[in-house]
């Protein structure tokens, strides 16, 4: 597979050592995107180096399609960020190539057309050349909405997701593809063609391998207007910096980067204003690093003048996948030489502790049924119902609490706190109650507290009904 980089202008760019990247410098490419077709001929993958503001994204996308490329699979290098430094440009090109290699294609529904927000009367009937941005897509087979999960609907700032009767409806027209849903989804069912964990991982890996000194990674917003030119720091573009979860912020440190910065939306000139999420995630990471007894400044919202030296790479296999938090926390503790790692309750904690109050819980098991990752599970043993919890599988999505029918009695509590000991403890039983069995077939009917609840709802006048419910399972009741 051959990869070519087309750069607008003259840069003396050199491909990274060991790379077979073919670099072609094309003067005037920004103004003449129609040159892409001829210059990209016979290349399997493509990277473009362009000057923002000097080209029409819609035109470039059109030419890429004509040349047989999916525009979402062609990373754009902002030439301003190279700042005239050919070595720096080489690092950015290596990162872009890695991202292109990790691109796995897009689907028709993942394109969102963008039109100008203000149209003057003069423009009334001028047909706008469409520009497309990548939009998320729910892989229905991996979605846990049928069980009651609606984590995407709860996080989406534009309310583009609606949960209705076990299905998630997605309205692309109001979505401002920020990607928060992608990293929030506990099962990884939401995909975004230009911001997958494997693309980000590949890009960071390439930066670490290509940059001579230890690099700093900056998660930046694709809407950012100002280029990043600070020496030693390299931008990894995301639909929004807020989609960088604590795992995404910590992972680069475990891959050899010296520091990580998430650029707040306001600083990046983005109008989505997800600053609060960015600050929250960064604050959690800083507390975690401090708790591990290491330099908290390695994760920040502001660039340091000098990037600190490398941390101990941990060789994690898939640090950007959902559910990677336990591995990352263990690796952080190991890198810092800490035996214990705890962070008190924090809204950005990627792990949590779930506590069930046996006095209030009726054993309906809705919490286990709604849990998208199986952290909460229920099982029937010898006349007993058990609900157990495994902190290592919990993503702190919090879906279990609002779905609990006994929420007013605080039957279940989720505390977003980090405790490595709890994660390593494995599955623990949170609730155990005797279950009434069917007099006819012997199958379980319901736990005793549930029966008590039914009794209180029916009242004494329904004693006859209650005695049937208590003695026969649903199937045998029907067969009476």
């Amino acid at each position: 597979m051959s990869t070519r980089a087309l750069l607008c202008g003259d840069h003396d760019a050199v491909a990274a050592e060991g790379s077979d990247l073919d670099i072609v410098e094309v003067p005037g490419l920004c103004f003449q995107p129609e040159l892409i077709g001829a210059e990209a001929e016979s290349a399997d993958r493509l990277v473009l180096g362009l000057w923002p503001g000097k080209y029409s994204p819609g035109l470039v996308q059109s030419e890429l399609r004509s040349a047989g490329f999916d525009p979402f699979g062609v990373p754009l290098v902002d030439l301003r960020e190279a700042d005239g430094d050919s070595e720096r440009l080489g690092v950015y090109l290596a990162a872009a190539v890695a991202r292109a290699e990790a691109f796995s294609g897009s689907r028709p529904e993942q394109s969102k057309s963008v039109f100008p927000s203000e149209v003057s009367r003069r423009d009334l009937l001028r047909f706008p050349r469409p520009e497309y941005v990548a939009a998320p897509l729910i892989e229905v087979e991996n979605c846990a909405a049928a069980g009651g999960c609606r984590a995407c609907a709860e996080i989406c700032p534009q309310t583009a997701y609606q949960w209705t009767a076990g299905r998630i409806e997605y309205d692309k027209s109001i979505c401002e593809p920020c990607g928060l849903c992608v990293t929030t989804c506990p099962t990884g069912a939401i995909t975004h063609p230009v911001a997958t964990g494997s693309q980000v991982a590949a890009q960071i890996e390439a930066i670490v391998e290509t940059e001579r000194s230890t690099p700093g990674i900056v998660y930046g917003c694709r809407r950012a207007s100002e280029p990043l030119t600070s020496k030693g720091w390299y931008q990894v573009e995301l639909p929004c910096a807020a989609m960088a979860t604590p795992q995404w912020l910590l992972a680069p440190l475990l891959m050899g980067a010296g520091a990580v910065v998430a650029r707040p939306c306001s600083e990046a000139g983005c109008d989505l204003r997800h600053d609060e999420v960015v600050f929250r995630n960064v604050d959690y990471c800083r507390r975690l690093l401090a708790a591990a007894g290491t330099d908290a400044d390695r994760v920040s919202t502001a660039l340091a003048e000098v990037v600190p030296g490398p941390w101990q790479p941990a060789g994690l296999s898939e640090p950007f996948n959902p559910g990677s938090a336990p591995d990352i926390l263990i690796a952080v503790a190991a890198a810092a030489g800490a035996t214990d790692l705890t962070v008190d309750e924090h809204p950005a904690s990627p792990t949590a502790e779930v506590v069930i109050d046996p006095e209030a819980c009726t054993g309906c098991t809705v919490c286990a049924q709604v849990c998208p990752t199986g952290a909460l599970a229920h099982a029937q043993f010898d006349g007993y119902l058990e609900i157990s919890f495994d902190a290592a599988a919990c993503t702190a999505c919090g879906q279990c609490v609002p779905r609990c029918p006994e929420i007013r009695n605080n039957a279940i509590e989720l505390v977003r706190r980090t405790d490595l000991g709890l994660i390593q403890a494995g599955r623990t039983v949170q609730y155990q109650e005797e279950t009434l069995s069917c007099e006819r077939c012997g199958l379980p009917i319901a736990p005793a507290p549930m029966m008590k609840k039914i009794e209180s709802l029916l009242g004494p006048e329904q004693h006859g009904v209650l005695s049937v419910i208590e003695s026969l399972c649903l199937e045998c009741r029907g067969a009476r």
Binding site: R65, G68, D70, S111, S113, V119, R121, R122, L124, L125
Partner: protein
């Protein structure tokens, strides 16, 4: 090209694409296939690459190059869309996917569709062998609405353009966009020759694109009105 014709031309291109896809889902014969191939080449010169569905359109153009003969294609058409001898039936009609799956009755769906045609001022030709819920009929309806949009744009009538876009969105969201993806999935799984799979993929990509695109265009006209 002046500004208003730019919009009219784009609407005409979209009309042409709808007509092309509508014809492609009719039973194939030598003449129709030749016309389709020529139309595809012609439409392509009007800048399909501007739109995000272009890769699937290009895939269809490639499929024309490797197209089996009309006779073979006709038997494939019959196998996929008309008979169910080997259990691979994928009827290109709305009622197959919605009347049963969504609980509504066939009569209710068809009368709803007829009502929509009447409201839009279109009718299925009395000699048409295709049912009112056939994809070709629905795509022809969209083509007619694009023609109205093009006419409005040519005459600088923003209200006509706005109404045509509004009608397009209502019809596409209530009908083809609501069932075509399920049809496309079945064809993709059942077409070893790949020609109809490529055709349904391209049509599916086009309809999904239109479903997203039309509201953006409508918003553009509305915003202009307010200035």
């Amino acid at each position: 090209m002046d500004e208003q014709n730019e919009w009219a031309e784009a609407a005409s291109l979209r009309q042409g694409l709808y007509r092309f896809f509508a014809a492609a889902f009719l039973p194939p014969n030598e003449r129709r296939l030749q016309e389709l191939e020529l139309s595809a080449e012609y439409l392509d010169t009007y800048g399909v690459n501007r739109f995000a569905f272009a890769p699937w359109w290009f895939g269809l153009l490639d499929a024309f190059k490797d197209m089996p003969g009309a006779e073979l294609l006709h038997s494939e058409y019959v196998r996929l869309f008309l008979t169910s001898s080997d259990g691979t039936l994928c009827p290109p009609v709305e009622s197959y996917y919605r009347a049963s799956a969504e609980g509504g009755g066939l009569a209710e769906l068809l009368s709803d569709l007829e009502r929509n045609y009447r409201r839009l001022g279109v009718q299925v030709q009395p000699d048409s062998v295709e049912s009112v819920d056939h994809i070709s009929v629905q795509l022809e309806t969209m083509a007619e609405l694009c023609r109205r949009e093009a006419e409005g744009a040519s005459n600088w009538e923003s209200e006509t353009v706005h109404k045509a876009l509004h009608d397009q969105y209502e019809f596409i969201s209530q009908h083809p966009a609501a069932w075509f993806p399920r049809f496309a999935e079945r064809v993709a799984a059942a077409d070893p020759m790949r020609f109809y799979a490529r055709l349904t993929e391209a049509t599916d990509a086009y309809l999904k694109h239109e479903y997203d695109f039309i509201p953006g265009l409508t918003h553009g006209v509305s915003s202009g009105d307010k200035v």
